[in-house]
Symmetry: C2
Subunit: 206 residues, 2 copies
């Protein structure tokens, strides 16, 4: 066997046995990947806080990605409606998506009402210890309803939307959220600061 | 209105109106996001080349992510079987996934046999002009069958697997692939070099 063949052979071994890992990908942005799972009533402020947090992370050169109704409901989950079965499948796919994006090395922000504990716990179960950060965006129903940014509460009260969370469908508050932010008493920037402190103290931002 | 209120107000406007864009995220890794869609027979070398390409990109601090059967079939598409309907849905979800990962700013490597032109064209249709790069991993059936890295051709020949691409199911070669690599005449490293040249010449790596 020639030297050349030897060289090819050993380089094949090196190349084939080493796949780039989650931690290596995350190292490109000097961060620890995770899912920040925002849960709360419609109008509680999930999207506002998640968007603001993305901007804050970006200003520090951290690489994040926001999953929300806008980019999920029309694409990957465009075949799903709002039956109980479809809602479960919707959250299942988003959870699997969160796992893939964490594996890709990103800080994932998921902003969905996600009213049921079992669904949120399923998303948590797919990830390694510490990678799932449940963020309870807390505000009284009356406050959320008075904000009503999309006019959905009005429609629900008129009976034009059925099974609307907080009106005629249950919202199950988290019992073990890693972070709780109260948007009745804190503005979005204060909430983002609380989350940034958590990320810093727990080693997600290097 | 106090100065303080003015300041708060204007900062709200700045924060809320600007969501971080695909290009901004991609800028973190000085790259242009895209999907490299590897298509070819089982045993043609898709995974080997994709893994090698990932390592090459990583060595240049480029942020990529590989989608393949290993991370898709058990998770996001774990509810799907191998009927025609389920195969179509499988490729649909992977295509939507590719779109989301491109939106997140990454260079996406998708390695699936994906034997049908309509499926690959669907994946292409979800993306902006130039973002979808079809990579035909070309090798004669006899060569792929002699490699048979997973023993699948033997099973198919014995009739233990039905509708196996190349045996009793069609493979439709790309008619407009951006890149074709021939793994009968080129080793994996030479194929990766061809792909890297394409990415460089077309401005995907800055």
């Amino acid at each position: 066997m020639s030297n050349n063949a030897n060289a090819d052979n050993s380089s094949n071994i090196v190349w084939h046995q080493h796949n780039i890992t989650k931690n290596e990908r995350a190292e490109l942005s000097k961060q620890k990947p995770c899912v920040l799972w925002f849960t709360g009533l419609s109008g509680s402020g999930k999207s506002t806080i998640a968007n603001l947090l993305e901007q804050k992370l970006y200003s520090l050169s951290k690489h994040s990605y926001l999953l929300d109704g806008d980019n999920i409901r029309h694409g990957l989950c465009g075949d799903l409606g709002f039956s109980d079965k479809d809602r479960v499948e919707n959250i299942r796919r988003i959870s699997e998506l969160g796992k893939l994006f964490v594996d890709s090395g990103l800080i994932v922000l998921a902003a969905f009402i996600s009213p049921f504990r079992t669904d949120r716990d399923f998303a948590r179960s797919l990830l390694d210890e510490g990678e799932f950060i449940e963020v309870f965006v807390d505000a009284p129903l009356a406050v959320c309803e008075s904000r009503d940014p999309k006019g959905l509460y009005k429609k629900a009260r008129r009976g034009e939307i059925q099974k609307f969370t907080g009106i005629d469908s249950d919202y199950q508050s988290p019992t073990h959220a890693e972070i709780t932010v109260n948007t009745e008493t804190h503005d979005a920037e204060a909430c983002v600061e609380i989350i940034m402190n958590y990320l810093t103290e727990n080693g997600f931002l290097k």
